[in-house]
């Protein structure tokens, strides 16, 4: 399989030079192949969310390099970084990060506004996804009236609506019971089956022991531990 994401000597320091400086990642070098399901595993504060943000072009490294599909994105200007993020990644966040005052449909439409497609096309794509995820009857409800599992499915729909190559999921089961967590893993399995690469940050045993997961990358204190055999 071809390498899709590659990091070399990745470091991330928050509040550099200030008393509250935090060294979140140290010397992280990692390769993720296309079509893989990788779990970044580690306790809170181990740097998995930071690494996920760097892999997903949500922030830039303090030093080191991130390559996505052969393109070095670590020093890309903001505009191009956004373009890579928009065209390559779909994000599922721990807190869902939905806009609570918007309807289900409007939340799913969000990534499509900057794309060159008509409003009709936007609606067609979003409604098809909501239908696939069993949310078509709820599409006009404000997301704040949905259950946790439903909100997570809305987040999944939003992550998929721009047809990304890579799904980035940060603690996706943190607010779900085991039944809903299983449902989510099933959805991720389906997406992987369609050829999408899935990178998950979690410390939930249910997730990292799930048969879908191809590789576990353990993190501790911002460092990469050796891959388990």
């Amino acid at each position: 399989m071809a390498v899709l994401i590659k990091t070399e000597g990745l470091e991330k320091i928050y509040n550099a030079g200030r008393p509250d400086e935090v060294r979140a990642l140290r010397e992280v070098s990692l390769e993720i192949d296309a079509g893989e399901v990788v779990v970044l595993k580690g306790p809170s504060g181990s740097g998995k969310s930071t690494l996920l943000s760097l892999l997903g072009c949500m922030t830039r490294p303090t030093s080191g390099r991130v390559t996505v599909a052969g393109r070095d994105v670590s020093r890309l200007p903001e505009r191009f970084l956004t373009e890579v993020r928009r065209e390559t990644f779909g994000f599922i966040f721990q807190q869902f990060n939905l806009l609570r005052q918007l309807s289900v449909l409007d939340n799913v439409l969000l990534p499509l506004y900057p794309l060159p497609c008509s409003l009709r096309e936007m609606h067609r794509r979003a409604e098809a996804l909501l239908d696939e995820l069993g949310l078509s009857l709820r599409q006009h409800l404000k997301v704040r009236y949905l259950s946790g599992g439903e909100q997570q499915r809305v987040a999944v729909a939003r992550a998929l609506v721009n047809g990304p190559q890579i799904i980035i999921a940060d603690e996706p089961t943190a607010h779900l019971d085991s039944g809903l967590a299983g449902e989510l893993m099933e959805i991720l399995g389906r997406l992987n089956g369609q050829g999408k690469t899935v990178v998950i940050a979690t410390h939930d045993r249910f997730v990292y022991e799930h048969p879908l997961v191809g590789r576990i990358v353990p993190l501790h204190d911002g460092r990469l531990e050796a891959d388990p055999p």
Binding site: T59, R79, R85, R86
Partner: protein, 386 residues
């Protein structure tokens, strides 16, 4: 283009989502614009009226001063005035003020000499030609509820009621001077006010060369030291500065309200909440770039401020031109509150609209966009965590 339209559509929806908050801002914002626009409309309207009226006024008016006060002028001065080089026609005028206790209004009574009154624009009827007739300004007609053919009774200087038949009513345009005007035949007016024989109120003096008005005025002052020659431009300047001064006072008072509103708007915008930062972070995370977020904020600011501008201008227009500037007239028109109701002619001035737009829309949009810029330039990751 499609992208901009979609972001505009999102901005409209976002504005409608925060109905309560935006409605409150809209009310205050529109009120601020209404006050500002009313002051500017009315000031401009009054200046326009003055200019229009004075366009038909003589180049020079000569009054007599006694003890520093305006007094009746001997008609014999007419020949001296006519002998000043550069002077054309010299016409004595007979006019005076009349307080009408019935309506609590001050009217200006003007004597019409034979063949005079050409510059006065009649709305209906004709100018008085014979004794016992009169023509009225539209304000007088309204105040007295009088129409053409009615009789108007006034109390003369002997405290006797005199009846005049209304033959014409002046047009409402250029109402600043004709609004309170009551035109009588000259002989009737002299009897009504009991003018002493051989005296007039003042003289209208025609000057052949408009460039020499000031020189002619100086010569008149030299020959007749007890007179005061007043040029048309002086009157216009006086009107201009009086209205400017009054509107300046009002605008100074208003500036504090505008400043308070700007502080409120700035506070609203700079106090960009964690929720708003999170929203910007989410938009960026799902693929909006900084320019998209800023465009959204510009649209949001424009939707609110242009709506407020439109409402403010409409309210100001209605206030000034339909309701006679009820709130501002006592300050801006000054003593003329004793006039019959003065309706300022509607007048659109693009420069004025630009000033109002610049003073009200720009600060609001800027105070909406600038803080969002800071948030939109940051990493989406850090914005969502804040």
């Amino acid at each position: 283009m499609l992208r901009h339209l979609k972001i505009l559509e999102f901005a409209v929806a976002a504005t409608l989502r925060h109905k309560g908050r935006n409605l409150a801002i809209l009310v205050v914002y529109s009120l601020v614009i209404t006050i500002l626009a009313s002051v500017l409309f009315l000031t401009r309207g009054l200046k326009e009226e003055a200019q229009r009226v004075l366009a038909g006024a003589p180049e020079l008016t000569v009054q007599r001063l006694i003890a520093g006060r305006h007094d009746l002028i001997p008609t014999s001065y007419g020949s001296i005035l006519a002998s000043v080089p550069g002077v054309g026609r010299v016409t004595p005028r007979f006019w005076g003020y009349y307080y009408d206790s019935l309506t609590s209004c001050n009217f200006t009574l003007l004597g019409l000499s034979a063949g005079g009154g050409d510059h006065l624009e009649l709305l209906a009827g004709r100018l008085p030609t014979g004794s016992g007739e009169c023509a009225l300004g539209s304000g007088v007609a309204t105040a007295r509820r009088t129409e053409i053919g009615d009789d108007l009774v006034l109390i003369d200087s002997h405290n006797l009621g005199v009846s005049f038949e209304v033959t014409g009513i002046f047009a409402a345009e250029a109402a600043l001077l004709t609004n309170d005007l009551l035109l009588l035949p000259e002989t009737d007016l002299r009897v009504f006010f009991n003018f002493p024989e051989g005296s007039a109120t003042d003289f209208e003096v025609q000057v052949f060369n408009p460039q020499e008005v000031a020189t002619v005025a100086a010569k008149i002052k030299q020959r007749l030291p007890d007179t005061r020659p007043i040029t048309r431009s002086e009157i216009l300047r006086t009107y201009d500065s009086v209205f400017s001064w009054r509107s300046g006072i009002l605008l100074t008072v208003f500036a504090s309200a505008l400043l308070a509103f700007c502080i409120l708007a700035w506070d609203k915008a700079t106090g960009i909440s964690a929720e708003e930062k999170r929203e910007i972070g989410i938009l960026k995370a799902v693929g909006w770039d900084t320019a998209d977020v800023l465009e959204l904020k510009v649209w949001e600011g424009l939707i609110l401020s242009l709506t407020a501008l439109l409402l403010g201008l409409i309210f100001a227009w209605v206030h000034v031109y339909w309701f006679d500037s009820t709130l501002l007239a006592p300050v801006l028109k000054g003593w003329s509150v004793l006039f019959p109701r003065l309706v300022v002619t509607p007048h659109v001035d693009l420069y004025q609209l630009f000033v109002i737009t610049f003073l009200t829309v720009t600060p609001y949009v800027a105070s909406t966009v600038i803080p969002s810029w800071r948030a939109a330039s940051a990493d989406p990751d850090s914005m969502m965590r804040s």
